[in-house]
Amino acid sequence: MAKILIAEDERDIRDLVAFTLRFAGYEVFAATNGEEAVALASQVNPDLILMDVRMPRMTGYEACKLLKGNPDLKDIPIVFLSAKGQETEIQQGLDAGAEEYLLKPFAPDQLTVRVKAILMKFGK
């Protein structure tokens, strides 16, 4: 069973994502900001990280850069899940090393489909 780390400061959305993914059968770990996410990632070594962009303490971009700068963690695919949908923002996310940039609001079943596709792509 794949492990998925989610970083999301909004509790409702964090719970929704966690519920959806658990419902789909994944093991889910949750962090409330970038800092937590980086720390948790090195602990649990997830197969995929879903990361909000705008978070307190450490933004998704910063966390992404940190993770990608860590040789042990750099291979974990990261998917941004953001309400910021402008081209520049998306490009910024991809530049930070993210695999995909999914826009809020999202349909849970679509999210499940995307997560499944990425995990398959990375052979996990």
């Binding site: 959806t20 309400a83 809020k104 999202f106």
Partner: protein
């Protein structure tokens, strides 16, 4: 005994005795002595008498001589001579005759017979006593009737012929000039001595008469001279008057450049000077080549009517026409008998005399001057000359006035043009100064010719230091950001033909002081001449800031809205998935409603963000060669899927040639355009409708046009002008039932225009006829 005086025996003395005795010798001697004594006494007495008489005669002659000599009046001379002769000899008739050499006649200037004066008579020189004496130059002394009768006498006074006649010639410088004759009806009256005396008188009379004649001649000459002086003076006065008149007219016409006034004054002065009663000036009009009545002064002037003012004559017609055609003056004694005088209702029937002269300026005839009088034969040749002289001045004056008018008109026209131009320029400048936007004008040589206050303020420059500067120096003040702007001005000035009407240029300048300036540039082209450029500056720092804040606000709000929307939509989906337990039909229905509205809210937020970003210029296109056919197939595929999912059958078709030029477009945005249009068609066409996407190359292969046609509800005519407006939506129930914001078409239109394409729509407005939305995109051309 004899009494002897000289050699003459004067008397005899007889001595008698009664006794016969013989006288003794002594007695005889005594007697002889006595006789001698007596002779001497007698001689003495005779000599005394003679001396006395001679003295008296000398005295009379002397007196007469004085009277005659001191007198110059011939008549008094005649009388004095007559009186002197009477005192010196017996005179009953007295004649003085003078020779008239001119007529060769003898004039009896003084004929008196027994104190009666006979009238002066003239006889031929070869007749009568006078003629004889004058011709011969010899005196005549006749004592008897026979001798007198033979003289072929001319008788006057008493019919008797005088018996004694003494006639002497009057001689002057050896020339006989007349005759003096004393006559008596007694025989043997005159002696040689009388002849001498009369001769003396005659000579004195001759001198005196000559003197008188000379005096009279002198006097006559003096009188004549005086008369001639008076006459000449009068003539001079007239000439002076004429000259003065001329001078006054000259002064008048030359001092006044107002033609009408000058002509009227001239005619008034002319009438005064020559006594004319009416003066008229007719001028040749260059436009119709007719003589027009121009000015009149005189007894008719008050009666001048409109008809007369408009009086016209052809050249050669009438008196004025005649003098203009012939270029010569006319002096007419009576107009009634002159065929040249045109008798119309406008010409006077009272004029009789006239002078008409042409008005000549160098070789040109410009009109005619006419003067009239109601009396026939009023004008003389002298007046004609005067009028001719005045006409010359008038012609020059008219010419001057015409030139003056011409110059004045020209000057006025130029002046008013200049004034207008100045006003226009000032007005334009004032307007340019007044506008809040900055205005900068460059001349064709790319130097700055104008910079208004607003521009100086916006650019933070002093206009005085900028005007006249070259564009390069000016452009340097703004660094790189002004480069394109400067280059455009240079391009236009170097090749004005490169400019196509409608071309404008707009650029945003970011100044070093943080200000943001929007500059609009346009060339000034007048009839193919490049006159420079006009740049309009607007300080949009504040607008840009406001816009940024707005966009930021919209972005923030959208973002903030998306977070709760994510939760709502997500949890609804989870519920609908049954992940949180089974939901019944009603619950599922309600959850679908929540989901749809969340979707609608999401579209709204997305559209708002799009509009905000497009408007703030933050949407940048990534144009590339794009196959519209592929895009259309993709879009149609999406809609077909929806059609199946939503169970709304719809016939979608693509009508496009296999070979289609690729367009220059941003893939995502072009898909947005076509997707939006096909999506609209799908929404507003009831099920089982048809949607056709037609693509074709246009405009010689420079553009591709896409039509999206449906047979849906269409768009009412009233709404058609507004469909591209923001937030505008129709009121058809199908529209209202469809989630939407009214922003879609507005965004599409802006994206099309960003691609330099055009968009429009057509609809009959009848439901079922549907609508056609069309747009064009430029064909991709390799750089």
């Amino acid at each position: 005994m004899p009494l002897v005086s000289g050699a003459n025996l004067r008397a005899l003395i007889f001595i008698h005795q009664k006794e016969s005795i013989r006288f003794s010798l002594t007695e005889i001697e005594l007697a002889r002595t006595l006789t001698n004594q007596s002779s001497i006494a007698l001689e003495n007495a005779r000599l005394y008498q003679s001396t006395l008489s001679t003295a008296e005669r000398f005295s009379i002659l002397n007196q007469a001589s004085y009277q005659v000599g001191t007198n110059l009046d011939p008549e008094q001379i005649y009388v004095a001579v007559h009186k002197a002769a009477q005192r010196l000899m017996p005179v009953e008739s007295f004649v003085i005759s003078l020779l008239d050499e001119v007529t060769d006649e003898v004039e009896g200037v003084y004929l008196v017979d027994e104190d009666k004066r006979a009238p002066i008579t003239r006889i031929p020189r070869n007749q009568g006593l006078s003629g004889h004496v004058i011709t011969t130059g010899e005196p005549l002394l006749l004592h008897e009737a026979e001798a007198v009768d033979g003289m072929d006498n001319v008788v006057y006074g008493k019919t008797d012929t005088p018996l004694s006649i003494l006639a002497v010639p009057m001689t002057l410088s050896g020339k006989t000039v007349g005759m003096l004759s004393a006559q008596s009806y007694q025989p043997n009256v005159y002696s040689e001595e009388d002849l001498q005396i009369l001769s003396t008188l005659a000579n004195q009379a001759a001198v005196a008469i000559q003197n008188g004649r000379l005096f009279n001649e002198t006097q006559r000459l003096a009188r004549e001279f005086e008369e001639r002086v008076i006459e000449r003076t009068a003539q001079l006065q007239r000439e002076q008057q004429n000259t003065e008149t001329l001078l006054r007219i000259l002064t008048e016409v030359s001092s006044s450049l107002d033609l009408d006034r000058a002509l009227n004054r001239t005619l008034a002065l002319l009438n005064d000077a020559i006594g004319a009663e009416q003066g008229t000036i007719m001028l040749l009009n260059a436009e119709d080549n007719l003589l027009h009545y121009r000015a009149g002064y005189g007894y008719l002037s008050d009666k001048v009517t409109g008809e007369r003012r408009g009086f016209k004559l052809k050249i050669g017609e009438g008196l004025a026409g005649w003098v203009v055609e012939r270029r010569e003056p006319a002096l007419i004694t009576d107009l009634l008998g002159d065929p040249r005088w045109v008798k119309t209702s406008a010409s006077s029937r009272e004029h009789r005399s006239a002078i008409a002269v042409p008005l000549l300026v160098a070789e040109d005839v410009i009109g005619a001057l006419l003067v009239f009088h109601r009396r026939p034969a009023y004008f003389s040749a002298e007046l004609l000359n005067m009028v001719k002289a005045i006409a010359g001045q008038v012609a020059v004056a008219i010419n001057n006035a015409h030139l003056y008018e011409l110059i004045r008109d020209q000057a006025e026209r130029l002046g008013s043009m200049l004034r207008r131009e100045q006003e226009d320029a000032s007005r334009s400048q004032a307007i340019l100064e007044a506008v809040a936007d900055g205005v900068l004008v460059t001349a064709p040589n790319n130097r700055i010719s104008f910079l208004n206050q607003s521009a100086a303020k916006i650019l933070d420059l002093e206009s005085g230091r900028v005007i006249g500067q070259s564009l390069d120096v000016f452009g340097g003040l703004f660094g790189k950001s002004a480069g394109t702007w400067m280059q455009t001005i240079r391009n236009w000035s170097e090749s004005p033909t490169a400019y196509e009407p409608g071309d404008t240029f707009a650029e945003q300048l970011d100044l070093e002081n943080g200000r943001i300036i929007l500059v609009h540039l346009a060339p000034v082209i007048l009839q193919n001449d490049f006159l420079g450029t006009v740049s309009i500056f607007r300080d949009i720092t504040h607008e840009v800031e406001v816009d940024r804040l707005k966009s930021e606000f919209v972005a923030t709000v959208s973002h903030e809205l998306r977070t709760p929307m994510t939760s709502i939509r997500g949890y609804v989906d989870v519920l609908l998935m049954g992940a949180a337990g089974a939901v019944n039909e009603n619950q599922a229905h309600f959850l679908h409603i929540v989901k749809n509205n969340t979707e609608r809210l999401n579209i709204l937020v997305n559209d708002l963000l799009d509009v905000s970003r497009i408007e703030s210029g933050r949407v940048t296109l990534s144009p590339q060669a794009l196959d519209l056919r592929e895009v259309a197939e993709d879009v149609i595929g999406d809609i077909l899927r929806r059609s199946q999912e939503e169970n709304k059958p719809m016939a979608l078709s693509l009508d496009a040639p296999k070979k289609l030029p690729r367009v220059n477009g941003d893939a995502e945005r072009v898909r947005q355009i076509l997707g939006n249009l096909v999506d609209n068609s799908y929404h507003y066409t009831p099920e089982n409708g048809t949607i056709t996407v037609r693509i074709r190359a246009l405009n010689g292969g420079h553009e591709v046009q896409v039509d999206v046609q449906d047979n849906g509800v269409g768009i009412p005519l009233d709404d058609q002008t507004r469909v591209f407006e923001r937030f505008y939506r129709g009121e058809h129930p199908l529209v209202l039932a469809t989630p939407g914001t009214g922003l879609g078409l507005s965004i599409v239109k802006q994206i099309v225009e960003m691609h330099k394409g055009r968009i429009w729509m057509k609809s009959s407005g009848v439901p079922g006829d549907g609508s056609v939305f069309s747009f064009t995109l430029p064909v991709y051309e390799k750089q």
